[in-house]
């Protein structure tokens, strides 16, 4: 059950993917591969757009475009306002975009968890969003319930983080 793709211009989706790459620490070519059967970048862009509205989304992308030539970590730190004590509403939207890539679900901007657990998302974007969550790659693993690996892999150490699509910036593994 994948949401129907909308009509956002390809250039905007590419900007969204490039921004997301910096925010998530992954390669843009992983988030939006040239051969892309899932089309997650477009799905996420359009999903977020629907949630936060045209103005907010365009403000986020404008802020990205101003600094897009900077190093990825600088882009992430700036858009997420990591050095401010309280993130602005716009940075909260950026947080939700990061969370969507990591966890495949849309979290309401600024809504936090409590009692030992994270916030409940609005919804899981789609089953493919779940199985493409980045957090599983960050753990050098696979989504729970979606293993591309084979019998017995769990008794051996996984491959290096760099083989999971992370932008380590120096072309090497950890």
């Amino acid at each position: 059950m994948t949401p129907t793709p909308g009509s956002a211009p390809e250039a905007v989706v590419q900007d969204f993917a490039d921004m997301s790459a910096a925010l998530t620490g992954f390669l843009s070519s992983v988030l939006k591969p040239s051969l892309d059967p899932v089309g997650l970048a477009r799905i996420y862009y359009e999903f977020a757009l629907k949630q936060v509205g045209e103005t907010n989304m365009s403000n986020v992308l404008s802020a990205f475009r101003v600094i897009k030539t900077q190093p990825p970590q600088t882009i992430a730190d700036t858009l997420l306002e990591v050095n401010k004590s309280d993130p602005s509403p716009q940075a909260n939207i950026v947080q939700s975009i990061v969370a969507m890539w990591y966890l495949g679900a849309w979290y309401r901007p600024g809504v936090k968890g409590s009692g030992g657990f994270g916030p409940t998302p609005l919804q899981v974007v789609s089953s493919q969003a779940y199985t493409n969550g980045l957090v599983w790659k960050v753990m050098q693993s696979h989504p729970m319930g979606f293993s591309p690996l084979t019998f017995g892999y769990w008794s051996q150490e996984p491959g290096p983080l760099s083989t999971f699509g992370v932008n380590t910036g120096n072309g090497g593994g950890q």
Binding site: A76, L103, R108, G118, V124, S141, M144, W154, V166
Partner: protein, 636 residues
């Protein structure tokens, strides 16, 4: 009312789960005509339907893949809306309903009060919530069993003789060995007797030359790390020294598991999806639909789905028919029902420990049947589960959780000893899923480092991160998480019981189970010892323990000044206990009712004591025994 069909059945079975399907298969193989009445919906054509439910569920609870009770979008306040059990034809106990009122919880029980109850004059803590859940669907709850296929220990079956507490089982250990072997073949248990040999010391015995049907599942890196770190470790049987001066060895053994290490029954080998609970996506783990298929293949077994038994009619000595409601639901959730009945020579209730008790109590106009002993619904037990979790030191290698089947090894060496005179025994299950169970990770920790919160306790500096910094931080902590779950041989207490609720019904008008529940000092003292053993293990590993408890919520209690939290293990037992004495037990060793000779009541509800192994293998073994006794009765 109309009879079901012109077909004459030898046996009618209520419930298409482990026990019901096993018995149907055995009877069908012997040429007997069997009808299974299954309350819930049919087994789907493809498990992809259930996988889609799982992927889109807001909370990946054990019930999440199965017919949905929860909305897929949360409310503006961030709550998950779940269906009112009064409006469902086959509501069931769910994790999302725990601690909720009867508009959300199928089981009607006291709500958490916000503070931990004080022990009564006998030291019991009452008013707690029974926290295990179950499914009511074709295939039953074991769609989401873990696959753990341990045998019981010799002394598990003779607690009274050996330790002077509780009851002995009416089945001998040698007989159980044969029944376990049958169940292991049927399930396809992967294990090695050689690897189990170190447990001879606690009374795990195999007949000479016994071989499991397939080789073992490799243990995980988590298992390997713990096993190495605790080499040579010993702990006392009792914390305060009294009653058991022995020091006990603590060591890890691979767990016999009902998942394939090689192709078996046309099913694939395990790919380590780390999702045995709530659903194996590739059916490498055996589940009862496999056995249901074998039963149907005999050509002698019929299943009637959406058919809820409401009465077992007893005339004179014998059961004469089962009344049941066939329900259907339209697109708007409107329920229609039609009452039917069916007669046979023999009847088998295999509906689940709580549902069996409910049906026995409901029968005969709610006067109940099979209840000379007054034990129906009593002695409700679980392997109440205590969870501890820790983080490997950043200077050590990661432990690599979130990989492999959910559990591949455990600590079984503390399951038996003289301490059982005084406190509950336990087994320790090593988890391969990081802090998924205690903290809902990787979600909670990920949101912590995105939002600057500290819900999972790993973001004490309330950092907000993005980019490669986020990747590295999450990688560092998530690959170091691990947990140990401890399951207790909970005492059988008559006051822990299922009755019919007088007020709340389901959409078919059937009274719902009312639960009274609590813990006794024998069980709680086990928690105290287990907490100490876990902490010592983490200490030896140089790991930092993060176990924490809440107060006054579902599963919270205080014992000897320390707060604990228990979870349900899903091992629901005891509600129609078996025994030799009709005044003290509901069924005999064959799970045949003492009172009604053509009625069998089967499943873990028959367990007189909880024992120390996960119950599925044993309850399936008992189903084989019941099938044999039913065939003998039919031949008589």
């Amino acid at each position: 009312m109309s009879a079901d069909t012109p077909q004459q059945y030898d046996v009618v079975i209520v419930g298409a789960g482990v026990s019901g399907n096993t018995i149907a298969w055995q009877l069908g193989k012997a040429g007997k005509k069997v009808l299974i009445l299954e309350a819930g919906v049919a087994v789907p054509d493809s498990r992809e339907d259930y996988m889609e439910n799982f992927y889109l569920a807001l909370a990946k609870t054990p019930e999440s893949p199965y017919p949905s009770i929860a909305e897929r979008k949360s409310t503006p306040k961030g709550d998950i809306t779940i269906a009112d059990p009064a409006k469902l034809p086959t509501p069931r106990a769910t994790v999302l309903g725990l601690g909720k009122g009867p508009d959300q919880s199928y089981l009607v029980q006291l709500l958490p009060t916000g503070k931990n109850a004080a022990p009564d004059q006998n030291g019991n803590v009452r008013g707690l919530q029974f926290s295990s859940t179950y499914e009511r669907i074709g295939g039953g709850t074991s769609w989401h069993w873990l696959g753990t296929s341990l045998r019981e220990l010799e002394n598990d079956l003779q607690m009274k003789t050996k330790y002077g507490v509780f009851e002995d089982w009416p089945v001998t250990y040698p007989e159980m060995q044969g029944l376990w072997a049958q169940a292991e073949q049927a399930i396809g248990v992967a294990a090695s007797t050689v690897q189990q040999e170190p447990l001879e010391g606690v009374g795990l015995k195999f007949p000479p030359g016994y071989q499991y049907p397939m080789g073992p599942i490799p243990i995980s890196l988590v298992d390997q790390t713990i096993s190495t770190a605790i080499a040579g470790m010993q702990v006392p049987g009792m914390l305060d020294g009294d009653g058991d001066p022995t020091m006990y060895d603590v060591f890890v053994t691979p767990t016999p598991q009902g998942r394939n290490s090689e192709p078996y029954q046309d099913r694939r080998v395990c790919a380590g999806n780390t999702n045995c609970i709530p659903i194996c996506p590739i059916q490498a783990k055996w589940d009862p639909t496999v056995t249901l298929g074998q039963a149907l293949d005999t050509g002698n077994v019929t299943v009637s789905y959406q058919s809820v038994a409401v009465n077992v009619a007893v005339e004179g000595l014998n059961a004469t028919r089962i009344d049941y409601l066939v329900w259907s639901s339209d697109a708007n959730g409107n329920i229609t029902k039609e009452q039917k009945f069916v007669s046979a020579k023999i009847y088998v209730l295999a509906a689940h420990a709580i549902e069996n008790a409910k049906l026995l109590l409901l029968s005969n106009n709610k006067d109940g049947i099979c209840n000379t002993s007054k034990q129906v619904g009593c002695n409700l037990m679980d392997h109440v589960l205590y969870l501890t979790w820790a983080l490997i030191d950043p200077n050590d290698n990661p432990i690599w959780g979130y990989r492999g089947p959910l559990a591949t090894a455990g600590i079984e060496s503390l399951r038996d000893g003289a301490f059982r005179k005084h406190r509950s025994s336990f087994r320790m299950e090593i988890g391969n899923e990081g802090w998924n169970f205690p903290s809902g990770d990787p979600y909670t920790t990920t949101m912590d480092f995105i939002q600057g919160t500290n819900n999972a306790q790993l973001n004490g500096k309330n950092q907000r991160l993005g980019g490669l910094a986020l990747v590295q931080q999450l990688n560092s902590v998530l690959t170091r998480q691990f947990r140990i779950g401890v399951m207790f041989d909970q005492a059988a207490l008559p006051q822990n019981r299922v009755t019919l609720d007088e007020k709340y019904t389901d959409a078919l008008g059937i009274p719902r189970p009312h639960i009274d529940y609590g813990l006794d000092p024998y069980t709680m003292e086990g928690f105290r010892v287990a907490a100490d053993v876990c902490s010592k293990i983490y200490e030896r590993m140089g790991a930092t323990e993060f176990t924490r408890t809440s107060v006054g919520q579902t599963g919270d209690f205080t014992y000897k000044g320390k707060d604990y939290h228990y979870y349900g293990a899903g091992h629901v037992m005891g509600t129609h206990r078996m025994g030799t004495d009709p005044d003290k037990s509901v069924v005999d060793a064959s799970q045949r009712s003492h009172d009604v000779p053509n009625l069998w009541v089967v499943g873990s509800g028959s367990f007189p004591t909880a024992c120390t192994a996960n119950p599925t293998l044993t309850l399936m073994g008992l189903a084989f025994k019941s099938a044999k006794s039913i065939l003998a009765a039919l031949a008589y």
